[in-house]
Subunit: 260 residues, 2 copies
DNA sequence: AAGTGGTCTAGACCACTTT
DNA sequence: AAGTGGTCTAGACCACTTC
């Protein structure tokens, strides 16, 4: 007699009768709840920044105990998909706060605190995706992609050049003007305008010598050693939605990492 | 009427009577339990690899409910201090398994899987700590420190050179022979022979040009761009116990990082 | 005062491992 | 069968925020 929770306004099996679980396609109740809640996030029922229903409401909706809902939310919170605020409620995570910037940008000044970097969009173009980019973004080679080239300034000094590749199908109305006028982290724009929040990312770092093009943008001598950072970012459902190739100048900054 | 748990064989206040907590020096009960358990880890009462008492035993010992002990262990587990094994028990985390190697070593081959790297100890010396090293290790300048220089080989190719600085007071009997004869991750040796498990670490990465000394050890041309990795590792109580300055060759390897 | 998340308990049963 | 961690419930009270 397994417990299986079915979509929101439907009927779960043997919820209030007995605890535990077993048999076909077993998974703990709280995992099922978590999956349902992730659907609500993915479908846009609950949007970034919004308040989600309270724990008691959710317990009623899913016909489980509050403790089970709590455990589901605990995991969503650990995954950075939601944020709890005591006394207020649980909110869908966003990238709008200035501090959220540094969740994915790990470049820090060697001394002192990190100020908010400034951006300059160099160009935005739409083209048919090169095979390699398409492979990473999990789309067909030749499908439309958006390519953004920009420079980031730390305290007025050009420090990062990057090329950002996005699937054209998702980022339809994305233009240079739209990017230029938007204030705050780029990922903030992505989640509000294109309904695709970045949930996690992987990076590959190498030390290389700058090429002449990047050197010109960064105002450094060709042949300077720089950090090459290739990032792949994912949304809900672990779908890759961004490939970013960046060059970081590490003369007076460093890539900071916490291991645990 | 706050709940305060006192050391193991002592008497807590108002434990089985009422839940909740408040008033002077407030902290949740499970946090107090966690702190007590960390003392047991730190003091060596529970050594790496060993089985710790079961949840029910701990609940009796601390005079709290099993659920409260569980929550304390949940956090210790999340902090990688302890590992749960269903049906068997909870064990103190170790660095002995080969796979544990890559918790702190994030260098991966560009293609294919990571084999176990081989080490060659170049030299081990004891000296009076340079001011900068002493500052990082939180000891007095001039105090004894151990400096280990070694090269790591990936598939026979020299890929990492590093200088490892350790407080002499803790690593008393550490010799080149001891290091050379030890099999497995160096951190495994540290925790079994010197009772100092590495719990977390921070790293600062920069792209630099190899100096001639490192180039010779790595068998690459002077002036090649390489990754400079400076690591500070911490034991229980966030005490720094290692400063490691490494050079990674990233021609056919990369530093892999997961952001979330 | 009412609502929200956070803590704590007590008891039940399940899944896994060992004896 | 016995012991361990893992899940689930129901109910109580606490801490924080808002009305």
């Amino acid at each position: 007699m397994n417990q299986t929770v079915t979509p929101p306004p439907a009927t779960p099996q043997a919820a209030s009768s007995g605890p535990g679980a077993s048999s076909p396609t077993f998974s703990p109740l709280y995992q099922q709840i978590k999956a349902l809640m992730m659907q609500s996030l993915q479908s846009g029922e609950w949007k970034p920044g919004e308040l989600i229903p309270s724990e008691v409401e959710l317990a009623l909706r899913y016909k489980v105990s509050q403790g089970t809902v709590r455990k589901a939310i605990d995991e969503l919170s650990a995954d950075n998909l939601v944020v709890r605020r005591q006394g207020k409620g649980t909110f869908v995570a966003t990238h709008h706060e200035a501090r959220a910037q540094f969740r994915f940008l790990k470049l820090m000044p060697d001394s002192g605190d990190a100020h908010q970097p400034e951006n300059r969009i160099v160009e935005v173009k739409r083209l048919r995706g090169p095979a390699e980019v398409a492979r990473v973004l999990d789309i067909k080679a030749g499908d439309s992609v958006v390519c953004i080239k920009r420079v980031q300034f730390f305290d007025g000094v050009p420090t990062i050049v990057e090329e950002i590749w996005l699937p054209g199908a998702i980022f339809k109305g994305l233009t240079a003007e739209r990017l230029a006028e938007y204030k705050g982290p780029m990922y903030g724009l992505f989640e509000t305008e294109f309904a695709t929040p970045m949930v996690r990312a992987t990076e590959k770092l190498k030390a290389v010598l700058v090429d002449s093009s990047a050197a010109a943008h960064l105002n450094i001598k060709p042949g300077t050693p720089v950090l090459s950072v290739e990032r792949v970012a994912y949304t809900y459902g672990d779908r890759p939605v961004e490939l970013r190739r960046a060059i970081y100048v590490t003369a007076s900054h460093h890539y900071h990492n916490e291991l645990s």
